[in-house]
């Protein structure tokens, strides 16, 4: 957030599209035609930060094709805490002009039997900051694909993905393209996989040859709670400049029994010990969320779903 004040508005998708309290710096045009929602959100500079709360109440498969445009020096917070009980197909293209900040929170619950696809392409300019936080429980078929282009100097991306999978599947692809010098990216992905879950994460960082002073960190970790669960973490680095600081790490495995024993030795029953352990594992990177309200919501999401 840039300032202390915010304009909170809401977009509710049901049988119609209901937009409430849109401030003057927000231009929204959304059309619902044949179960397909198409349109754009344009944000212009304002002294007050703009936050849009999205709620999906549609009783059928949710189809959204959205273009988001952030003008110079603007701020947009996009928050979606919906339950997706009928499946979804969401395609978003975002363009950020210089000095803009885009903070996107998704804390969603998906019905297990649904199919859900999410694609987000982000183009950034100089000094832009894109913050992306996604909390999900997966479904029988789920694909998340995010592509971030850090096109100009000092653009930055910080993102955390948390997937709590209980016999659900999800494929998560993240591509971060460093296309100008002095850009920064920081990505963390964590998953807990139970039952017959299948979770994959592929995180690719591309650094172009002219991109000196790049800083990029990527970490992915998975916790396999049952023998039948499967996690596949694939970090990829394609670095074409020597003057960079890039790190990556991936690890998955069963819970650390020494931690469970430590908790049990303090009187905590096995199931509660396992829950505390999993909550800690997933919550390790929540300090990347600077907004305290959303950090609390993320903690609550983890506690509820794990």
């Amino acid at each position: 957030m840039t300032g202390s004040k915010t304009n909170n508005c809401s977009i509710i998708f049901s049988e119609k599209i209901d937009i409430k309290n849109a401030p003057d710096n927000l231009d929204i045009d959304l059309q619902l035609i044949n179960d397909q929602i198409t349109g754009y959100i344009n944000v212009t500079k304002s002294k007050i930060d703009t936050i849009i709360n999205i709620t999906n109440l549609r009783k059928k498969h949710f189809n959204l094709n959205l273009n988001i445009y952030l003008d110079e020096d603007s701020f947009l917070g996009l928050r979606d805490e919906s339950e997706y009980n009928f499946g979804s197909n969401i395609i978003i293209k975002s363009k950020m002009n210089k000095n803009s900040i885009f903070e996107y929170f998704r804390l969603n619950s998906f019905l297990k039997t649904t199919k859900n696809h999410f694609i987000h392409d982000i183009e950034t300019s100089s000094n832009c900051e894109f913050r992306d936080f996604n909390f999900s429980n997966g479904s029988d078929e789920m694909h998340n694909k995010t592509s971030v282009s850090l096109n100009d100097e000092n653009a930055s991306y910080v993102g955390s993905g948390v997937m709590i999978s209980n016999s659900t599947n999800s494929n998560n692809d993240l591509l971060i393209k460093h296309l100008s010098k002095s850009a920064k990216s920081d990505c963390s992905f964590k998953t807990v996989s139970r039952g017959v879950s299948r979770v994959s994460f592929s995180g690719k960082v591309f650094v172009d040859q002219d991109c000196s002073k790049t800083v990029s960190n990527q970490i992915s970790k998975g916790l396999i709670m049952d023998e039948t669960a499967n996690i596949n973490l694939t970090p990829k680095l394609d670095i074409n400049n020597d003057d960079v600081i890039c790190s990556h790490g991936a690890a998955s495995g069963k819970p650390d029994e020494s931690i469970i024993f430590y908790l049990k030795s303090r009187g905590i029953p096995h199931k509660q010990a396992e829950k505390i352990y999993v909550e800690g594992f997933l919550g390790e990177f929540l300090n990347k969320i600077s907004n305290s309200e959303m950090q609390q919501k993320a903690m609550k999401y983890i506690s509820t779903h794990c």
Binding site: E257, I259, Y262, S265, R266, I268, H270, I276, Y277
Partner: protein, 243 residues
């Protein structure tokens, strides 16, 4: 309070504890001293119920109950506390949240309501102050990035919060500087009572200079080879374990 009879313990099929028998009465402080690899920590973890330690034969009565039939959490709720030699790190969980949960699980076992936030904070401040623990340590993740001394102090803090009647301290003195050793020992001494017993595992005399033991046992190759009073610890300090 504690009666260990002819105990044999193996780790990964290698026998570590051999026919150990030991009685600890209410309010007694027993020190177990011994060289590296003699099996001191194996006793500590066996008493706490670590599943990696297999009891192949023997019996342990704790407050007239069969300890070996109890889950580690049941042992804790029955009043047994192990201060770990190497306290475990728990990333993602703040120390304050963790401490509150362990307090509440014991309160629940005793039929009490969960502690109020204000009451817990007051108790935490008071008990942390005794150990010179700064309150900001509790907003950090459990033991993650803590110094060796901070970890050990955090173990003693948990001991104070949980009010157990049998305390096993597994090399609590290692990693503590002189000042920390003194404040930690003072806190432990304040917790001594006629209803609370201690088993203190250590290599060195220095901890026992602050916490006076009633009995000292010398451990070698999984068995007690000699028992005596504090003068035995003095003898080991002067002459070593090969006396």
């Amino acid at each position: 309070m504690l009666n260990i009879k002819e105990l044999n313990v193996s780790v990964e099929e290698k026998q570590i504890i051999k026919d150990l028998s030991l009685k600890v009465g209410s309010g007694e402080v027993h020190a177990i001293m011994g060289p590296n690899g003699s099996g001191k920590s194996t006793i500590a973890h066996t008493l706490a119920g670590n599943p990696n330690y297999e009891v192949t034969s023997g019996k342990i009565d704790f407050n007239n109950e069969d300890l070996l039939n109890m889950d580690p959490s049941e042992r804790s709720l029955s009043g047994l506390f192990l201060a770990f030699q190497y306290p475990i790190e728990l990333p993602g969980v703040t120390n304050a949240s963790y401490l509150k949960q362990i307090v509440n699980v014991h309160r629940k076992h005793n039929g009490d309501k969960p502690i109020e936030a204000g009451e817990f904070l007051k108790m935490l401040k008071e008990k942390s102050s005794k150990l010179n623990i700064p309150m900001d340590m509790h907003s950090r993740f459990v033991n993650a990035g803590f110094s060796g001394g901070e970890k050990k102090k955090n173990e003693v803090l948990q001991l104070d919060l949980l009010n157990p009647n049998l305390v096993i301290m597994d090399e609590t003195d290692s990693g503590l500087d002189v000042d920390a050793l003194k404040s930690t020992s003072e806190a432990v001494n304040q917790l001594r009572s006629s209803k609370r017993s201690f088993i203190i595992i250590t290599h060195y005399l220095r901890l026992l200079e602050y916490i006076e033991p009633d009995y000292v046992h010398v451990f070698q190759e999984g068995s007690i080879i000699e028992s005596g009073d504090k003068s035995l610890a003095n003898k080991i300090d002067t002459e070593g374990y090969a006396y």
